[in-house]
Each structure stands twice: as C-alpha cells, then as structure tokens.
Symmetry: C2
Subunit: 255 residues, 2 copies
C-alpha cells in the first residue's frame, strides 16, 4: 500500500481560541478527502500554538541578568532570550547567532522552538510578537484527536511537528513534538532479518519519519500548508507519546 500525504486546503490563518479540530474537519471535506480508520493528521506546531494563544509580545517581557548577558553573547534580543530560558531546562551550546537548549518538554532544539516568523500579533509593534510551543503538545494532540474521532467516528492519530536543525548535517527537517494515537518509536528488536536467523537490533523513530515526510509536503514557503492528511502509515496505531522519542540524558553521547 502506498503512503499518501495530502496537504489540507483552505485552512484560514489561525487565531487564539479557534476550534482547530472543527477547522480541520471542514478542510478535509473541502479538500475532497475522507477520514478512514488509521488515518493520521500531521499539524504544524504553529497552528496549534496559535489556537492555544501562545503568542507573546516581547514588549511585555523584562529580561533578567542571565538573559541580558547571554543575549549579548549570542547577539539576540534580551527579551527573546529571557523567553528562551524560561522555556528551557539547560543551555547546550551557544555562539553568536545560535542558542541550542534542552526544552522543558525534553528535546534539544534551537531557541526553545520560539518562532518569530509567520507570527503577527495584535497591538504594539507587530514585529515584536513571538510564538511559544504548545505547553503540552501530547495533550494538544490528544484533544484534537478526540474531537476528530468524535466528528468522524474513526480511530485516527494526530502528530504535531516542528522543524529542527540537527547535529552534523545542514538544513532543518520536520520532527515530532507531540503525538496521540500513533507510536513514537517502533521496536523491531528481536525480529528476524531477511534471512530469518539474525536478530535485528533496530528501533525505528516512526513518528519522526512521518514528521519529516509531512514537513516535506507542508513546505515552509509563504503560502502555508499547515496540516497534512496521511493514509497508509505502515505500522499499527497505538497510544504513544513524545517521551518515547527522547533519549535519556544519561544515554546521550552528544550533549
């Protein structure tokens, strides 16, 4: 069976409080799609964060001493750095232009995932608005999933993704930051290989592979395609969570 990823059309610019599940359900119909058992919806973090009102006006942020010092070192706005620190548990690397942190949610990323582009708040200086990640993306995914399952009557999965840079390689790729109803990782350890007698030792980051796939078709261009319908995910759906994808600190060789 093929894997088919279709961007949803006609999704409006999302505002705080918007009913995201209802908007997605309407868009599925406008897009000429259906919802079947096992389908997955992949959502860009931005529309979830905006619906949850995670916009912050930098004019309301007072940077502390640590933020002021760090901001000078990485050459960024101290108010922005204050927010990054408040969203993080530790700073992994810094240099002018770059700040890599461990987010409170557990993953490693630049600037705690706080975004400045495609964000336009109301009031004050529109360029001063930034967007934080959802407070609990697993819960966000679960809530959207519950509504979409209720609207459709089908068992589905919901994956919330962002774009992260990586160690060692150029360019960002789509990556999971929250999920509900699909596996984070798929454990093949102990299964036989092609010849039937060697045991495999592989754990596949299936949700991250799907995140990258959906990100590819979402694009990052001006037009915006923030939601993707997926049919043909090749592994059985089950309850899942972001935590499956996070390597425990003590097992990580690259901090």
């Amino acid at each position: 069976m093929p894997l088919i990823l279709t961007p949803l059309v006609d999704i409006p610019l999302i505002q705080p409080g918007d009913p995201l599940a209802g908007i997605l359900f309407r868009s599925v119909q406008i897009s000429g799609l259906t919802i079947q058992e096992g389908d997955i919806f992949v959502l860009a973090q931005k529309i979830v964060s905006k619906a949850e009102g995670r916009l912050v006006d930098l004019a309301t942020v007072t940077p502390g001493k640590r933020a002021v010092k760090l901001a000078a070192q990485v050459e960024k706005d101290p108010r922005f750095i204050e927010l990054v620190l408040s969203e993080s548990t530790s700073v992994l690397r810094q240099r002018p232009g770059t700040l890599i942190v461990e987010h409170k949610l557990g993953f490693i990323c630049a600037n705690a995932g706080i975004d400045h582009s495609n964000v336009l708040g109301e009031g004050g200086n529109p360029e001063d608005w930034v967007l934080l990640l959802p407070e609990n993306p697993d819960l966000s995914a679960a809530a959207i999933r519950a509504e979409l399952e209720s609207l459709s009557g089908m068992r589905i999965g919901v994956l919330i993704i962002d774009s992260h840079g990586r160690a060692w390689r150029n360019g960002v790729i789509g990556i999971s930051i929250g999920l509900s109803g699909l596996p984070g990782v798929v454990d093949l350890r102990g299964l036989p290989d092609l010849y039937g007698y060697r045991l495999r030792i592989t754990t596949i980051a299936a949700a991250d592979e799907l995140a990258a796939a959906a990100s590819l078709i979402m694009g990052q261009a001006a037009e915006g395609r923030p939601a993707v319908h997926v049919r043909g995910f090749p592994y059985p759906l089950r309850e899942g969570s972001l935590s499956e994808l996070i390597r425990p600190r003590e097992l990580d060789l690259f901090r």
Copy 2:
C-alpha cells in the same frame, strides 16, 4: 498535489553485478506504476552496495593494533572494527556497544554504516559477511539515474538512503547518503514569510525529509521493500549532491 510513496514489488535479492536500474525498471511495470517527469526513486543502501559487490568476508580481514584495542573497548569483533576504521576519518564517540565515526563520505554515523544484518555472503561462515556502503553513493545514484532516464525517457531523481541514529533522540530514521537529480537542501533564505515582510532564514534538508518518508514505507522488517517510487516531490529537481547536507566540521557544535 499529494506526495505519494509506493514501494516497488517483486525486487529479487540483489547479487553482486546485478543490473539494478533494469531490475527497478521492470519492477515499476510489475508494480503497475509509470515513470513521469519529476518522479524520484529512493533506494535502500543495501541493494546498491550489494549490486556493487561491497560484501566483505570478515575471515579475510586482519585487524591492526588500533582495531584490536578499540574492539576490546567497544566489545565488538576486531575484524569488524578494522573495517570501520578503514571506512572512517575519525572516531567521535565510543563506549561498549557503540562506535560513532565520521565516515570517509563526510557524514557522522555508527559503525561507518557497515551492516551485518540482511547480509549473507557465499563461502566461509555465512554469518561472517558484512556489507560496506557504496564507495561513492552520489556516483552510484547518477549511474542508476542515467539508465532509468534512458529507459524511461523521463527526467527523474535518484536518492540512496540508509538508517542512522541521531543525537538526543531515540530510534533510527532514513537519511540521505547519495543523490542525483534532486536538491540536497532547499534554500528559502531571503523569501518572505506568510505576512510578506519578514525574511525567512530557513534551509530545508529536503532530501533528508524524503529519505525519512521513504524509509517509513520501506520498513525494516523481514519482507524487505528496498525501493520506493515517489511522485509529488514539491521542489524543482536540479543537480544535487550529498555534500550539500554535510555540515562543515568547523561549523558543527556537536563533535
């Protein structure tokens, strides 16, 4: 337009010297697919390496002093470690069970990408055979592409992928190790964002996003689906190379 990834069916177990492009072209027809302008074929490294005869019998390998010492530290076969070192330019991290190196091809990965599973050589102890990566995967991709373009009369892309572990996150994902006829990264820097006035700063690792997508549908299971036909890649095809995806050592904060 949707992104559609379809695994090719009826690909035989590949042997050294097998005409891979011809086998793929036949499989496209058996799979009920067509080849159109802009299609991409994603190939698992293993079938390319096998066709190129990159099988090595460990019984023919004599480990040097460095390999013997390192093998004791990481608790692996010294002959295997000798091969890993011969395929690498440096060792980044080591501990029992794990050896992370910079491959001669430029990327960072475990065990220099040398694989023990799904490999069965002829002669000696069948469990002693391992599989090295293609010597120059960009060239491998270009050769297969040229033949497929000749057979089909269409302009296509070819991407060779492997599964790599990552810093910070659990599980492996599909990743590019060689390509021809598609972009490695897509540079959006300088394009306007959704609101038309902020300039974006994003470079997208489009080939790696496609690698992850194809890996998802290939699976890693016993059945083996080592080639995937892709329709709907959303960026213009152009000449490309692995080197676009490799972060220069001096810009890398995680070595």
